[in-house]
């Protein structure tokens, strides 16, 4: 006796959250059944393995049929075929677009291309995430990227509107898209200590302050080249950053800056002497990062540079985070007192964001 056909169709589509998770995690039906058996569900419900097998198959089939709709979540809301309560729809979408921290760290900042997709095998082996799940997550990134790539307006809003994600998840996707678009390097060994959350935090700050959309310069000419308002860094701004060079190139200015900072921080900083000794190096590092951002290559290496030039020196001197904060605050504020420096607004736009990023990046 073999089962040829075995289906269950409810007027309200039944969604089992546990099975959905297993499906999303890319387990085969067999593996999923084994995992469910291990969870002790048979003992709880008095069911048999055959029942579990049939149930799992059925849910997998349902999910498979729903997957097409999940690729364009608004379709899931408007379709008539599966009657699903709104909360369940939200859950389906949210879970489908959720991703693994380990996975996203691997592909963050990489080009979402076929080439990267080929590397998913390795990522799967490395992270222990099934290849199927890797593919789903990668395809999600790519799909979201494709849809919002050409759109104007707020990146987060666009993502939310077209994928109906929660605010939290939409922000994460905005970060992923932003990183993929700017190809920030995140995979270097010295960046391994950083979490996705760290990068997402930085991405949000950068989107808010360093992109075209950030300054509210909606292009009046619809044919203008600058369509991707939230995706691309403001080229003009990056160009302008060269002007900051003077802060380290002009020795007087540099000295003045240093003395201002030291005066203000004397006695307040546990690591004052180290700071004093390192000030010029640190300042040169931060300003040089800014001036190099006109080159794509250097944009990509932004995080590598920040870690190398700032985080690591401070960390080797064992600065506590509170001292880093005090220093950065004073470091950016003191510039306002430099009479010979004319680019205050530019400095604030740059340093305001950078300060936030650095504080987030500064941990073990």
């Amino acid at each position: 006796m073999t089962s040829e056909l075995d289906i269950f169709v409810g007027n309200t589509t039944l969604i089992d959250e546990d099975v959905y998770r297993l499906w999303l995690d890319g387990y085969s039906v067999g593996d999923a059944v084994a995992l469910r058996v291990r969870s002790g569900i048979l003992e709880q419900t008095g069911a048999t393995a055959a029942v579990l097998q049939s149930d799992t198959m059925d849910h997998y089939r349902t999910f498979h049929m729903l997957e097409r709709l999940l690729h364009a979540p608004p379709k899931l809301l408007h379709q008539l075929i599966y009657q699903i309560p709104p909360s369940r729809q939200a859950l389906l979408i949210e879970r489908y677009y959720a991703f693994d921290e380990a996975f996203v760290r691997e592909v963050l900042g990489k080009k979402l291309s076929k080439g990267t997709k080929k590397d998913l095998d390795d990522i799967s082996t490395k992270t222990g995430i099934t290849l199927k799940s890797c593919r789903r997550q990668f395809d999600n990134f790519k799909r979201v990227f494709k849809v919002v790539e050409e759109m104007r307006g707020s990146l987060v809003d666009n993502i939310q509107q077209h994928f109906l994600l929660s605010d939290r998840l939409a922000r994460d996707y905005a970060a992923i898209v932003f990183f993929a678009n700017n190809r920030f390097e995140t995979g270097k060994k010295k960046l391994q200590y950083l979490s996705f959350g760290d990068f997402a935090f930085c991405a949000e700050l950068m989107i808010q302050n360093w992109t075209l959309g950030a300054v509210g310069e909606a292009p009046t000419d619809p044919d203008s080249q600058v369509d991707d308002m939230d995706m691309d860094l403001d080229k003009e701004f990056l160009q302008d950053l060269k002007e900051l060079k003077v802060l380290v190139a002009d020795k007087d200015l540099l000295d003045l800056h240093k003395s201002l900072v030291c005066t203000a921080l004397r006695g307040k900083l546990g690591v004052f002497s180290e700071m004093e000794a390192n000030f010029k190096n640190l300042s040169r590092g931060l300003v040089n990062v800014a001036t190099k951002l006109t080159h794509n290559k250097d944009v990509r290496d932004l995080f590598v540079d920040l870690v190398e030039k700032f985080v690591e020196p401070c960390r080797s001197d064992h600065w506590p985070l509170s001292d880093v904060r005090l220093f950065l605050n004073q470091y950016s504020a003191s510039v306002h007192s430099l009479d010979g420096f004319r680019h205050q607004a530019l400095w604030d736009r740059y340093m305001g964001t950078l300060r936030g990023c650095l504080l987030r990046l500064y941990h073990d």
Binding site: M1, Q83, I84, R88
Partner: protein
Amino acid sequence: MPGKLKVKIVAGRHLPVMDRASDLTDAFVEVKFGNTTFKTDVYPKSLNPQWNSEWFKFEVDDEDLQDEPLQITVLDHDTYSANDAIGKVYIDIDPLLYSEAATVISGWFPIYDTIHGIRGEINVVVKVDLFNDLNRFRQSSCGVKFFCTTSIPKCYRAVIIHGFVEELVVNEDPEYQWIDRIRTPRASNEARQRLISLMSGELQRKIGLKVLEMRGNAVVGYLQCFDLEGESGLVVRAIGTACTLDKLSSPAAFLPACNSPSKEMKEIPFNEDPNPNTHSSGPSTPLKNQTYSFSPSKSYSRQSSSSDTDLSLTPKTGMGSGSAGKEGGPFKALLRQQTQSALEQRGGSPHRFCRRREFPFFTLTAFPPGFLVHVGGVVSARSVKLLDRIHNPAFVGIMSNTRSYKLLDWNSFNSDEPETRDAWWAEIRQEIKSHAKALGCHAVVGYSESTSICEEVCILSASGTAAVLNPRFLQDGTVEGCLEQRLEENLPAGCGFCHIPYDELNMPFPAHLTYCYNCRKQKVPDVLFTTIDLPTDATVIGKGCLIQARLCRLKKKAQAEANATAISNLLPFMEYEVHTQLMNKLKLKGMNALFGLRIQITVGENMLMGLASATGVYLAALPTPGGIQIAGKTPNDGSYEQHISHMQKKINDTIAKNKELYEINPPEISEEIIGSPIPEPRQRSRLLRSQSESSDEVTELDLSHGKKDAFVLEIDDTDAMEDVHSLLTDVPPPSGFYSCNTEIMPGINNWTSEIQMFTSVRVIRLSSLNLTNQALNKNFNDLCENLLKSLYFKLRSMIPCCLCHVNFTVSLPEDELIQVTVTAVAITFDKNQALQTTKAHVEKSLQRASTDNEELLQFPLELCSDSLPSHPFPPAKEHLESASSNSGIPAAQRATSVDYSSFADRCSSWIELIKLKAQTIRRGSIKTTVTVEKTSPMGEGNFRNRSAAPCANSTVGVVKMTPLSFIPGAKITKYLGIINMFFIRETTSLREEGGVSGFLHAFIAEVFAMVRAHVAALGGNAVVSYIMKQCVFMENPNKNQAQCLINVSGDAVVFARESELEVVSTQQPAANCQPACTGGEVTT
């Protein structure tokens, strides 16, 4: 030209890409009704076209309005080649034809293609302007309301229940026409869909005409079925109960009862007056006692001549009363008198009985209180027919001149063609009627008909519950509740229906009678089987449960007559065993009555399957069931003995456990109170030893312990062993779960509002190697049990919950395939029942209050099976004693005295009897008839607030579907019309669509979606009495092909939450009550 149909095509969305080059579609729409077609403009390059067309107007006869569906086809415009069809929408406009229902159909309909499934949606608005036509000879029956619901619809009141209406129409099946060889599968499927739609429309119109002739205005319990007979054609048939319904003014009033009884009296002036009744079932003819006498008016003469070609092996094997029904000439009169007088007594005054209806059948399964007086038992009849044996001149003629699948002129051939099928059914119905009479009943309730077809063999089945009805409802229809008081004077509430309607001295079958455990005045049988729902006022102890008997029998493959013979030889054995199984399982559950009994016999190439489902309950009025005793054949063998006693212990344990599980703890009754002068009928407890050669020389052995009779199973071979084992293998549902196949679960009445309707289908392939009856039985049993287990597991999140209206359908699509389809609804309930009870009391007192007017309502009986003068009710019926011990009738049918050792003996004698009978039966058809279990009348009782459960708040905006006639926690405020849809889906890329499971899963989901869309377009938010009548699945994996036909129906309704009705301000509970409200579907 009494009608104008107006259609507007608004927009489309989610259309498929039809032009690969542009990834877009140039869509336009064809709107067709009858022979008129309109087209919209092409809306270029869009997947979401906005046509916003003008109003397309069709001027048509109302006859066409009823028959024809509106056909909307969406196409992709192609400049160079033929336009590609994207898909179609069929809209049944019948709901627009009667006043109270929907006024407009407007909404998004899924665009359906038989090859690709749903491909986008289209927004359509449909209206009808109907001009009144007073033509008496009209062919249309606009305005007659149809309900699938098998009870009086919730917001109506029955003024009169007129009775049975039936009709059938026949055409050839487009799939089997010569043209099918050259046309595409899509064209063929669409031809079929359209034809069936057309035939259903016509059928409904004809039924409507009959109802109008009876002066009714509605059909309740409308059941329409298709018989796909293959080469010999396509039969669409329908049965229903004609009623005159009155809309209740206030939907809030649950039992408006007799508030204004005078009104309907005026409206329905003595309906027994000679209606100008030209109804085809003919003027009343005196009832004949012979089963096969037909009223001349129906032109059966033709049938009898043509039936020479039929086979004539017709063992008429009654389950019990079959035999009695035949021969019992003398006592019949007595029975009739009693029935008559029983009615008389209630009626209060002598009436002139007017028998206008040929068949006093009712498709209803639930009734207004007081309607049902006594229940006699289940009556059923089956008949095996050969389909290729039709030599109907009319049919042949049609075959030759119908080259297109367009419908023919129905008037010309309708009168002749369906006659054969009509005659077949008439025969069966006659049979049923005579069985009912044998049980002293003049009516059959819970009546249904079905067929099973395999190749050219067809089994026709009909079953129902013989009953005595209160004449009042048949005529003046008075209203729920009015009669209660009076009935209670005569029959204490909750047990009246159990009292036997037949004469104790001349019982149609051996039964064990006792005094009613409730009122102690009248006799009741020991077990009661019925096809109806539990009456609302029946007194039940504990909860009920689903009981199934499952059975397979191998048969040799054979052709035509040989095949039919083989089948009809097997049928009685199957009926017998199914009955035995039911009885055993009932006892094992410690219960004494079955409701909603449905026995399905399915015929396949090489086997027969029997599946009986029913809901077991413990009726307080009936005696406590005895246990089951096991007896070994060889008592000397020590180890064997031990084994037996072990089994016995297991059985006893199971019974005890079940009693606990279902909370069956009837009050102990002392002997004195019962005062039983009733002698224990012997045969119930006797044990037939295997050495006995015939039932006459039975060695009797009293195994009964105390008063309670034991049910003895003798284990003498492996077969019997298997049977006992299988009894014990039925696993009870996990805790928190209950299941039943009736509308509501006896013993639970505090439903909450969460419901989940579902359909589950399983097909198993049997390994052809070891096909034995035992292996088959085991496979089938496992299939059903596993299916149930899966359901319990899947729905575990709803605990505590009950699976209601569990409906199993078995089919045998191929040699080694068994397909089981289950549709049911899971309803959650609240464990705390306190609130309910108080509510029930209030309602009851309300009912009482309304009884005062009742005296006013005295009308003659309309439905009554004969015209004898009335007698006063013999008040001393119960004096008759000890009548039941006459055992001349073969005991095989006796439910209670089954033992396996003597089975063979009894069968042989039984078969002899059958043979004798067969000779007396006119040659002409193969027929097996089975009748009767037993029964008694139903009281009225527990469940008065089946739909009055308090329920959690919840939102609307979704379309609920349920096989029940109500929605828990909500009131139905409006019926919008019947939904009756037929779909075909075919694929030539089965693997790509996820194999057979993926294919069927998607199709059923699509069917649900289309039903919901139609309901939403009518302005409704639920489908009640939903039923999947057919799910025919065929596959050919080698060719990567599959095809499936599905037929569903139900009533579209608008419901409002009770909380919303009470409190005007309804908050919109959002995400927190999710489980209660289904789906985020947008139904605009």
